[in-house]
């Protein structure tokens, strides 16, 4: 099985040469999914030199169709002849068999390289209002009286440290990183053995979180950025994405949600609930290792991340007094939490935040929830988290002073 690609105006023509049977179906599938990942959601499979299709081949085509369906994509089979044509027709692919690709089938340049990510205006006057909760200053004991109950409704997103336990008392042992978007919550229980947990709103039920540290943003998003690898910029670090979002919103303080394929995440998550810290507890190194887990390498390459956060450009900002932390770019500060999900393709073009988030939370469970950070250690530093392609919804923050 050999695959060769030609880009045409209507989509991508993939020429498959050889036999599509059980031995080659996996390789074929991998090759096709790679194109889907790269954003090619309209595929023409050139079957002119395909000599044989077995049921295993049919199965891989059905799987490909399913995958494309989730991103409103499709594929067509062109130039199928003889046995291959018959088999495909009998298997129910009749309607997708074309004599030839539409248009002139003339090769064109694979991707229109624009200087900047594609930008969609959603609602020009939308803005977010922020609210901050700070009952814990690492690594001091938690001020339990200042904990607040947080409800992330369908108009807001939030990130912080908290727990979904019923009472504040039960929460004390369970505070961990969370991120919540439009009622969907992903959180990391502070326990070495536990997997990340998640909650999805159902009808009248909205998850509530006891938070000891949180930033809640309420409001609508004004812009959507779509970014993908470009020759001069193969990966998008969070600093560049945030800078770009600030450019399109023309704001120096923004709130945003990013969904995208991961190049590498750098982050940390709690291993023990801060609620257990007493004035006598030592959290200095090396005891700190029992309290927090640092990723140690750039993680989760190839998976999908949902990241939410707030960012500020202000040379005078002092990170010790607020909720934001310095990014790689000087003068830029942000607080970011990410939930990692197994890979699934995102549709191209303008996509809805609510639908996208729902799709993540209705799929396989999250693999991790972590606080993202900028590893600026000289020499050994892992740098900043970065994404390959995805979408960023953003809007200006009307009250950056609460951060």
């Amino acid at each position: 099985m050999q695959l060769s690609q030609t880009k045409i105006k209507e989509g991508l023509v993939v020429k498959a040469v050889g036999r599509l049977d059980a031995s080659w179906a996996d390789l074929f599938m991998e090759g096709m999914l790679q194109e889907v990942r790269a954003g090619e959601h309209h595929l023409f499979i050139d079957a002119s030199e395909l000599t044989y299709v077995s049921s295993a081949g049919i199965r891989s085509l059905i799987l490909l169709q399913k995958e494309l369906f989730t991103v409103q994509g499709w594929f067509r089979i062109i130039h199928a002849v003889g046995m291959v044509r018959q088999t495909l027709a009998l298997a129910g692919f009749e309607q997708w068999l074309l004599e030839k690709a539409p248009g002139k089938e003339e090769p064109c340049v694979r991707e229109a390289v624009t200087d900047k990510p594609a930008c969609f205006n959603l609602q020009w006057d939308a803005a977010l209002s922020a609210r901050a909760i700070s009952a814990w200053n690492p690594w001091n004991p938690v001020r339990m009286d200042q904990c607040r109950k947080l409800v992330v409704d369908e108009q807001s997103f939030a990130l912080g440290i908290g727990s979904a336990a019923d009472t504040l008392d039960q929460s004390r042992e369970l505070f961990g990183e969370f991120m919540a978007i439009q009622g969907c919550v992903a959180m990391q229980p502070p326990d070495e053995h536990s997997r990340p947990d998640y909650l999805v709103p159902e009808k009248s039920f909205l998850p509530e979180l006891h938070s000891i540290q949180a930033i809640l943003c309420r409001g609508a998003m004004s812009h959507l950025l779509r970014f993908s690898p470009r020759t001069e910029q193969p990966v998008h670090s969070l600093s560049t994405l945030i800078t770009e979002a600030m450019r399109v919103t023309e704001a120096s303080a923004i709130g945003f949600v990013i969904a995208g394929e991961i190049e590498g995440l750098v982050g940390a998550s709690l291993l023990r609930s801060p609620g257990r810290i007493t004035p006598e507890t030592s959290t200095d190194f090396p005891a700190m290792r029992d309290w927090i887990n640092f990723c140690g390498e750039r993680m989760f390459s190839g998976e999908q991340a949902l990241i939410c956060g707030t960012a500020l450009r202000n040379e005078q900002y002092h990170p010790q007094q607020g909720a934001l932390l310095p990014l790689a770019e000087p003068g830029l500060f942000a607080h970011l939490h990410a939930a990692v999900f197994p890979y699934q393709p995102l549709p191209n073009g303008r996509i809805e935040l609510a639908a996208t988030v729902r799709r993540f939370f209705n799929g396989p469970p999250p693999r991790a929830v972590l606080h993202l950070l900028n590893d600026s250690r000289p020499g050994v530093g892992l740098g900043e988290s970065a994404l390959l392609r995805g979408a960023c919804w953003c809007a200006t923050l009307s009250n950056p002073e609460v951060l």
């Binding site: 940390a268 700190m288 640092f294 140690g296 932390l325």
Partner: protein, 270 residues
């Protein structure tokens, strides 16, 4: 019940090759528990097993089995209470002696060795009966030297020998690691059936996550001479291979967590 209290062992102390193999290991294993020790190479799991078996005396700490202090007893004096199967399938049997003679040794493990004939007719009948259960067609070959058998057959016999006089504790030191897959599966199944039937307290070292998950009541993970994880009861039941892999992964990450990371987190986690 096996009780280990604060065991310490350093090999070649004071030299460049100093190895702190055990650094304060404490562990209690309830009677009838099948406990599995896992850990990377050099984590101290085999050292712990050898300490219990009595291959060396620990620098500090106490080993008690059913309330009896074994710490200073030499290996052969512990044999009456402890059955042991080694990783090397040739280590547990005497190659030049016959199957019957090897089994006769095991039937008298830890007992007084008298000047009475070892192979009575009665003993041979017993042997044939027990060996028949192995379904290895060995019951008619009692007088063949054990060296003529395959590794799998020898390991199965070693297991039989280790459990013949029901020991208070059974030690299994990666006993299927050196066997071919088919023999390994057979010995694994045999181990499970014997341990279940005799309700043996067992401590097994293994590299196989699959074995650890499938066979045990309790999984103990070691790292750098200390116990870092102890999955038991209902926690053990939810453990699958990926959970163990993740636990190893966390250990590796913890190694990378040095002072510079601590400083970084002070500025980046506020």
């Amino acid at each position: 019940m096996l009780e280990l209290v604060n065991l310490h062992k350093t090999f070649m102390p004071g030299t460049a090759n100093e190895v702190r193999a055990l650094q304060g290991v404490s562990l209690t294993i309830q009677p009838g528990t099948f406990a599995v020790l896992i850990g990377s190479n050099g984590s101290g799991k085999s050292t712990l097993l050898n300490a219990v078996a009595g291959s060396f005396a620990p620098d500090a700490g106490t080993i008690r089995l059913n309330g009896c202090d074994l710490t200073r007893l030499p290996e052969h004096r512990r044999a009456a209470r402890i059955g042991r199967v080694f990783q090397n399938p040739f280590a547990g049997t005497a190659a030049e002696m016959s199957i019957a003679e090897n089994l006769a040794l095991a039937m008298h493990r830890g007992k007084h060795r008298s000047l009475r004939p070892a192979l009575t007719r009665n003993a041979r009948t017993q042997m044939a009966d027990r060996i028949r259960e192995l379904k290895m067609d060995l019951e008619n070959r009692l007088d063949n030297p054990i060296g003529t058998l395959s590794g799998g057959q020898r390991q199965a016999l070693t297991l039989l020998m280790a459990t013949w006089t029901r020991p208070d504790l059974l030690l299994l030191d990666e006993h299927t690691a050196a066997l071919d897959p088919k023999s390994a599966a057979k010995v694994t199944a045999l181990t499970q059936s014997i341990v279940q039937r005799e309700k043996l307290t067992t401590l097994m070292v293994t590299h196989s996550m699959q074995q650890a998950v499938d066979m045990s009541d309790r999984i103990i993970m070691m790292h750098r001479g200390a116990i870092v994880q102890d999955y038991r009861d209902e926690h053990k039941q939810r453990i699958r291979i990926p959970d163990l892999m993740a636990a190893f992964d966390r250990l590796a990450r913890r190694e990378l967590f040095d002072e510079s990371v601590a400083d970084l987190l002070k500025s980046q986690y506020a």
